[in-house]
């Protein structure tokens, strides 16, 4: 009897109710809309940080390893620490595009567009673009770019995107955490409610990290009518005001 009650209670309360996402004509979930990462701290430091003047704080968005720390190799940790001292090197301060997974976690909106052939991620910040073909074509060879080369597929109701072909120049946040050209990301977009997508990125980069790690944030749907606005930042920017390190050093 006790076991029976236990089973009943697991059935009633132990399992989250399965969310039935809105679907497109082709049957897969309709992820379209304007979204924004709910964890603002991720833009500043994916490992979490205290709050500070003009900078929100929060917990680490790294869910694996469980300690929430990036599993740097010793040399790479030294480089990350050096980047942190020289945050004026942040590529986004120079108006370069964010790379992956950073393009999903800025405190700016993104729009997801699906038209049956592609999923397209438009970022307000740096007006960056990711076009994700879903037709099973292979990755481009000898291709090295800020946003890498994305190939998507559906696993059940989860959009899975495999990303390689990075240029090795992107950071993960404003704190100097970084990846290099050997980065390989597997992203998972799962709608868990009408206005929520859980975004996970498993990052492998054997020349920077001792093991793969996983970042997870929620994307929240923005209010109806929200539109992406043109982003006013030109690649190669040298204006000091755009350099987070330079600005914060004056405080």
């Amino acid at each position: 009897m006790r076991l029976f009650l236990l089973l009943i209670s697991i059935a009633a309360f132990g399992q989250p109710a399965t969310f039935e996402p809105p679907r497109q004509a082709h049957g897969h979930p309709d992820l379209q809309g304007v979204w924004r990462n709910a964890s603002i701290v991720a833009a500043f430091n994916v490992e979490g940080k205290k709050a500070y003047y003009n900078e929100p704080g929060g917990a680490s968005v790294i869910v694996d390893p469980p300690d929430g720390k990036l599993p740097y190799l010793p040399d790479a940790l030294q480089k990350a620490n050096d980047n942190h001292v020289h945050r004026e090197r942040d590529p986004t301060g120079h108006c370069h595009t964010h790379g992956v997974p950073r393009s999903l976690v800025p405190p700016f909106p993104i729009e997801i567009v699906e038209d049956g052939n592609h999923v397209v991620l438009l970022s307000e910040t740096e007006h960056s673009i990711r076009i994700i073909p879903l037709d099973g074509r292979p990755h481009l060879k000898n291709y090295h770019a800020w946003a890498g080369d994305s190939r998507g597929r559906w696993e059940g109701d989860t959009l899975v995107v495999d990303v390689t072909g990075f240029n090795g120049r992107t950071w993960l946040d404003q704190s100097g955490n970084f990846v290099d050209e050997n980065e390989h990301v597997v992203e998972r977009f799962t709608m868990t409610g009408p206005d929520t997508i859980v975004y996970e990125a498993r990052v492998e980069d054997p020349t920077v990290y001792s093991r793969p790690w996983t970042l997870s944030v929620s994307l929240r749907r923005q209010t109806k009518g929200t539109e992406l606005i043109e982003y006013d930042c030109i690649e190669g920017e040298r204006d000091e005001i755009h350099f987070p390190g330079a600005a914060s050093q004056k405080h």
């Binding site: 004509a25 673009i129 073909p133 539109e227």
Partner: protein
């Protein structure tokens, strides 16, 4: 007037209104080098841009300095209408909310809203603020709220921030199979230097 060529076709369009403009397109024109010389101006009938006298003088200065002054050469967003006739491809996507035009050049994009929403005026965008509607199979985009930081071509033809553009996109051959118009599979900038078709992720024909 500029004719665009397409590559790629796909699944049925998930909307009922308008035409299917989806695919990767590129202008078959030298309009980007010089709008007037490429016979890109169909009105006025003389094919000349009808500058005011002071503006004509500025255009001549722009032309003289075009090697360094052309904003597009400095990787600024190309502006409208120039983005449509650059010698680099762009991809059109469509859903019920908007037509999305994603350019290879300067990873620029525009969202042409189709929901009857009003312009975001006075904000000074390089790519303007686009609101569209369908007139039969023609996409009509009304574009305002420009900055004065873009040119019309590489020859120094230019505009002020009072620019107002009405664009019309009409698909001339719905099959997109005009002779020679389809790019060979897998062609790209490196493999096909005389026929640019791909240099950015996802822009693969």
């Amino acid at each position: 007037m500029v004719v665009l060529f397409a590559a790629a076709s796909g699944r049925a369009l998930p909307q009922s209104a308008g035409a299917d403009l989806r695919g990767i397109w590129m202008a078959e024109s030298n309009a980007d080098a010089n709008l007037e010389r490429a016979h890109g101006i169909v009105d006025p009938p003389d094919g000349k841009i009808p500058y005011r006298p002071q503006a004509a003088a500025q255009q001549k200065r722009n032309f003289a300095n075009r090697g360094t002054a052309d904003p597009e050469k400095r990787c600024f967003q190309p502006g409208i209408p120039r983005a449509a006739y650059l010698r680099s491809p762009f991809q059109i996507l469509q859903n019920d909310r908007a037509v999305y035009i994603v350019y290879q050049d300067a990873h620029s994009y525009r969202i042409v809203y189709l929901n009857g929403s009003p312009h975001n005026d006075g904000l000074g965008y390089a790519m303007g603020d686009s609101r569209g509607h369908w007139e039969g199979d023609t996409l009509v985009a009304d574009v305002t709220s420009f900055s004065d930081t873009t040119w019309l071509d590489a020859a120094g033809n230019y505009h002020s921030d009072e620019l107002h553009v009405v664009e019309r996109y009409t698909r001339m051959n719905p099959s997109g199979d005009r002779e020679g118009a389809r790019w060979p599979p897998g062609c790209n900038l490196r493999k096909s230097p005389t026929r640019r078709c791909l240099a950015a992720p996802g822009f693969k024909a």
